[in-house]
Amino acid sequence: MPSRRSFLKQATMTAMAGSFAVGAPQFAFARTGSGKTFIKVFMGGGADGLHLLPPIGDPNYYLVRPNIAVRQPDAADPSAAIKLPGHDGVRALNPNLSPLMEIWDDKNLSFFPATGLVNGDRSHFRKTMMTNYAAPKGDSGGWIGRYFEYASSSTHPLRGAGLKAGSYALKGKKRLPVITNPRGLDISFPDLCAGDGCSDNLLTNEVLSMIDGANTHLSAIAESQKLLIDSSDIIMSSWDAHSTSAGGLEYSESRLGQGLKMAASLLANGHPLEMATIPWDNRWDTHKHIIAEGDNPIGDQNKYYNKNLRNGALDLLCFYRDLKSKGLLDNVVLLVATEFGREIRENGIFGAEHGHAGCWFAFGGPVKGEVALDSALPEVDPANPRRLRGDDRFLSYAMDYRDILSEIVVRHMGASESVVSKVFPKWDWTDRKILTA
């Protein structure tokens, strides 16, 4: 009798073979739920929005950031910003994000340069938690948790997942797996089984039988272990079957790259992943040295910050191309978020303290392709540009991030509008029309 795993492997192989035959993916599992996917990428630490998408048209920007500002676009200067056609002279792109220009040119990339959770909080942990809970009180879990409670009927073990790391957003009544390593979920052990390739599944079967016999005290842990075994086969078989087709690009070994690859492999193999969270590092908390020393402060790839930004952009591009080549782009929206932006002025050691609005961006088939809802820097006294008091230190919010998420839930995921108030309690959605659909 074939083992569960070999059966699943076969099923995926058949699916792949089928895809070659008819030119479209065949699904080993019936898709349940919306058939659409939302992926949230999180830049932990408070990424500096004014550095990612510098407001080159604003003279105040160069007053408050004499050392760390990104220079005006100049094709010959590797540290200069990159022109965003259609937004000339207003905002430009950090040169390390240049791989994203391909998506911008396809009109599938939007920037939200002044968004986030609208309040005055500047603590990493509270803001990250509140942004992901998206509810006045954290008791009711995270917003993705509530999405699966109210808006999705899917029961697939991988309908929602934290890829590479967990997120507060995933907390909820229905347990969602966090997968740090696609092969890491396999608990079988070579010394503890018999047959070809551990085909007797001894340990897995024993754990399953112990899970069946678990009493109420053990229900939480047993539920996790069950989910682990269920997800393990699916994720491993899709991972093994996945081949990246991104015009020569490959996913990097970073958490972002591997997370995106996991998402792509699940989608390409027809698994109904509806919502996933992926971390893009925790190292965006630039209290100091956001730029490299020398005359190439932003282009210098020996600087970790620059390299990290560049590699991440390449991973995002790889994911974009991968989905596009597999015809899945229209089903996917990916949103890059952070907990807050940073102060508009630089501090004494080439960094900036915690601020308010940050720059988020999204791409995917239904994304319009624009710089949506900017807000201007506060007025700065040219004689004394560092003397900023109170809210003058911060970029103000042009919109709350829940407008973006609400629109994604309704317009992209296909939930009814009445669900918005359940997924985002005590929130009135203002339609910003950021998606085409």
Partner: protein, 788 residues
């Protein structure tokens, strides 16, 4: 210890084996060795019946008196504490007065107005304080005695209620006015039907009136005519029947009774008889087991105050009692012989670290953090002062720094951990200062860049949000900046080079905490939420501003609430019961942050051992799991080394794979104390995978070996049932399910059902080893092993 428990199979004597069982199943105390030789015994019901009614009344009267006395003594203790507090404040003012000549003059001029005590000298105040403390100690001791009496009386009452007796007449009950609680309806007592026949001997029969755990109970015994009866058949409550094998050397067997057998009436009547090949049976021994839920909170409590129990530890705590054990731990009087034998020390110094790791050139990262991992892991596994290790991890995690990429303080890193171990039971203020004045923290949270021209808020923010008052501490942005200004100039000084390089040929520098008056902001600071103004000071005195601030923060009510709730999260439940947090905060308040009374207020709470609502509610963190597994396997290097630096690197790297990275956790929050965080699929998968790996490394014996394997061999088990119950018992603290037991049992025998034990034959010993470690791996993967 191993020697004492060893048994020579050739001269196997029954009492010796029984004593082993007693050692390991310490909760089941009374052993009826003599009974085994006697004729059929049935428990006398009538005598106990009449005497227990009188006992009950007597006990109730005693109970009420004792409760009254306890209330009095508590009041007394409160008064005494009040006195200590006032005496202490006198002493403090006396001390501060002595410091300046002006104050001394003031004192001589107007002494009576300044002080309440007749003598103004600190020495006299000190003496008074000492006396008061002595008195308080005395009262506490008495109070403990009263509490002990109360417990025994309550126990007697319970025993009387379960003793066989006709329902007592209402008049016989003690007057209601004396009792604080209304008397529960009298429980009809069912007489015991235990009767033993020498054909089937029982080795661990509970004494009359004693209960067993409702989670299950293992009956150990032996069949007299084991040459004929190859199996033993157990019928439970006349319905469920199961069989267990009988040993061919001494006729030993084990029968496991499960939770479901106690359902309904909390009682299981087990009939045991031998069955031979023809289906003929021996005479029957009947055992009447009564179960209670709260019979064994000790094992669970031990899993929280230590990194996992061992048979010796259960035995020890059972003997001296939990309260004494906690006191022993707080006094650092735990058994440290194993730790010493393996050369782990409480406090690492640079030279020792160097001598330990200098030959390990293959490490891609710094040698220093790495040596800390070894010493911390070694201490967590082998140090008898387990509570100290638990608290060391708690503090190091509360004041988390990330060692990754921080080459600048790795040479100081051992000192950072040393401090938390040294001050584990000290005052919170001391611990807070240890972190605040450490190069590690100053570098990690950028306070070295905090100066009067460019305020860096990073450390100031986390000092309040994570170390003291918590995120809801009530401060705002302006407070934050004021606090950051107070801390300007707190930074790090470099002390040239020490006389060696690391493996990269890099000179290593020692750094110490430093206060730089030149970059300190000397204006006054107004901190609204503390309602205080810190006067700006110039020169070296500028550091006093920060000290004043930190002292205030250490005693802030929000700090008490925040740190207490984290402590209770770790020691009690993920959702901290309010009462424990309040008691902790109260103890903090009255002792100004002394950790010992704080821990006592939580651990010695009368309900700590028995409260079912906080029982089995915590998943082990990956670190607790790994250290617990190491202790369960009793992993040792062959060369009398404990574990090597390579092992600890290996272990810690594997723990880090679960997301629980003690030394390289990138955010200053530290790892979550809420255990459900570690019940995520990815984290769980990583721990299970590496848990299995470690079991198998112990099996292969290339590097390390399992003490538990040899101990189990020496215990002389003859049947898989005995071994399964033994392993699960020490692994899960006797909290395992029927399916755990069956999975383990199934894998202890080969596919023909043969059990290999104490095999001298090389090939059979290999088989024995294979089955043993298979079972260990299954236990390490079982749901029961994942929770505390």
């Amino acid at each position: 210890m191993l020697k004492n428990l060893s048994i020579n199979p050739d001269q196997s004597s029954r009492p010796l084996r029984a004593s082993i069982i007693v050692s390991f199943f310490a909760m089941i105390t009374l052993l009826l060795t003599a009974t085994a030789a006697a004729q059929s015994v049935s428990v006398d019901t009538e005598e106990t019946a009449s005497s227990s009614v009188a006992d009950a009344q007597d006990a109730k009267t005693r109970l009420s008196t004792l409760e009254k006395r306890r209330a009095e003594m508590r009041a007394n203790l409160r008064a005494r504490r009040e006195k200590i507090r006032s005496l202490r404040s006198n002493l403090r003012s006396a001390r501060s007065a002595r410091r300046t000549p002006a104050a001394r003059r003031r004192e001589s001029g107007n002494a009576a107005a300044s002080f309440n005590t007749p003598t103004k000298q600190p020495a006299a105040s000190r003496a008074a304080l000492r006396a008061a403390r002595r008195e308080a100690r005395e009262i506490r001791r008495n109070l403990r005695a009263v509490r002990r009496d109360l417990r025994t009386t309550r126990k007697e009452l319970r025993a009387a209620a379960t003793a066989p007796t006709p329902a007592p007449a209402p008049a016989a009950v003690a007057p209601a006015a004396v009792l604080t609680k209304p008397e529960p309806a009298p429980v009809p007592v069912i007489p015991s039907v235990t009767s033993l026949h020498p054909d089937v001997r029982i080795d661990n029969l509970p004494a009359s009136g004693d209960t067993v755990s409702s989670f299950g109970h293992t009956i150990f015994g032996a069949v007299k005519d084991f040459a004929r009866f190859k199996t033993v058949e157990a019928t439970i409550d006349g319905s469920r029947t199961m069989t267990a094998s009988v040993g061919d050397q001494r006729g030993q067997f084990a029968v496991r009774i499960f939770e479901r057998d106690f359902e309904g009436d909390s009682r299981a009547i087990v009939k045991l008889r031998g069955v031979d090949a023809e289906g003929e049976t021996s005479e029957v021994s009947t055992i009447d087991l009564r179960a209670t839920d709260d019979s064994d909170g000790l094992r669970e409590a031990l899993k929280r105050v230590s990194f996992g129990g061992s048979p010796e530890l259960y035995e020890h705590v059972q003997k001296i009692g939990f309260e004494k054990y906690v006191e022993e731990q707080l006094a650092l009087e735990g058994d440290t012989r194993v730790r010493d034998k393996f050369g782990f020390t409480d406090y690492l110094d640079y030279n020792e670290v160097w001598s330990r790791v200098k030959n390990h050139k293959w490490h891609s990262d710094s040698v220093y953090p790495f040596s800390i991992t070894l010493n911390n892991y070694g201490n967590a596994v082998f140090n008898g002062n387990q509570l100290q290790q638990v608290m060391t991890h708690f503090w190091a995690n509360h004041f988390n720094v990330n060692l990754k990429g921080q080459k600048r303080f790795d040479v100081n890193a051992p000192e950072y951990w040393n401090g938390f171990r040294r001050h584990a039971f000290d005052n919170f203020e001391t611990i807070l200062f240890h972190s605040a004045k450490s190069p590690a923290m100053m570098i990690y949270l950028d306070n070295e860049h905090n100066n009067k021209d460019f305020v860096n808020e990073n450390y100031a923010r986390e000092l309040m949000e994570l170390h003291t008052v918590g995120v809801d501490g009530g401060y705002d942005d302006e407070d934050l900046i004021e606090v950051a200004r107070v801390l300007t100039g707190w930074n790090v000084k470099e002390h040239g080079v020490i006389d060696r390089t690391d493996y990269n040929g890099r000179w290593m520098k020692i750094r110490t905490f430093n206060f730089d008056p030149d970059i300190h902001d000397t204006d006054d600071k107004h901190i609204k939420f503390l309602n205080m103004t810190i006067k700006g000071r110039t020169g070296a005195a500028g550091i006093q501003e920060g000290e004043q601030l930190i002292k205030t923060l250490a005693q802030h009510p929000k700090t008490r609430a925040f740190v207490c709730s984290k402590l209770v999260e770790m020691l009690v439940s993920d959702t901290p019961p309010k009462r424990y947090v309040e008691n902790c905060a109260e103890a903090w308040k009255s002792t100004r942050g002394e950790i010992k009374p704080i821990l006592r207020s939580i651990l010695l709470d009368p309900d700590y051992l028995e409260d079912q609502s906080v029982s089995r509610v915590k998943t082990k963190t990956p670190h607790e799991y790994m250290v617990g597994l190491t202790r369960f396997l009793d992993i040792q290097r062959k060369e009398n080394q404990g574990i090597s630096s390579n092992d600890s690197r290996h272990f810690n790297r594997n723990i880090a794979k679960t997301g629980y990275d003690m030394y390289r956790y990138p955010v200053p929050t530290g790892m979550d104390e809420v255990s459900s965080t570690w019940n995520e699929v990815g984290s769980l998968a990583a721990r299970l995978k590496w848990g299995t790996q470690i079991v198998y490394e112990a099996r292969r014996q290339y590097y390390m070996t399992s003490g538990t394997y040899y101990r189990a061999r020496k215990n002389g088990f003859e049947t898989p049932e005995e071994l399964a119950a033994y392993l699960l018992d020490i692994g899960t603290g006797e909290r395992f399910t029927e399916s755990d037991y069956e999975s383990v049992l199934k894998n202890l025998v080969d596919d023909k059902g043969r059990f290999y034990y104490n095999e001298d034959n090389y090939w059979n010993e290999k088989k024995e080893r294979r089955h043993f470690f298979k079972a260990m791996a299954i236990i390490a993967n079982s749901p029961s092993f994942q929770i505390q």
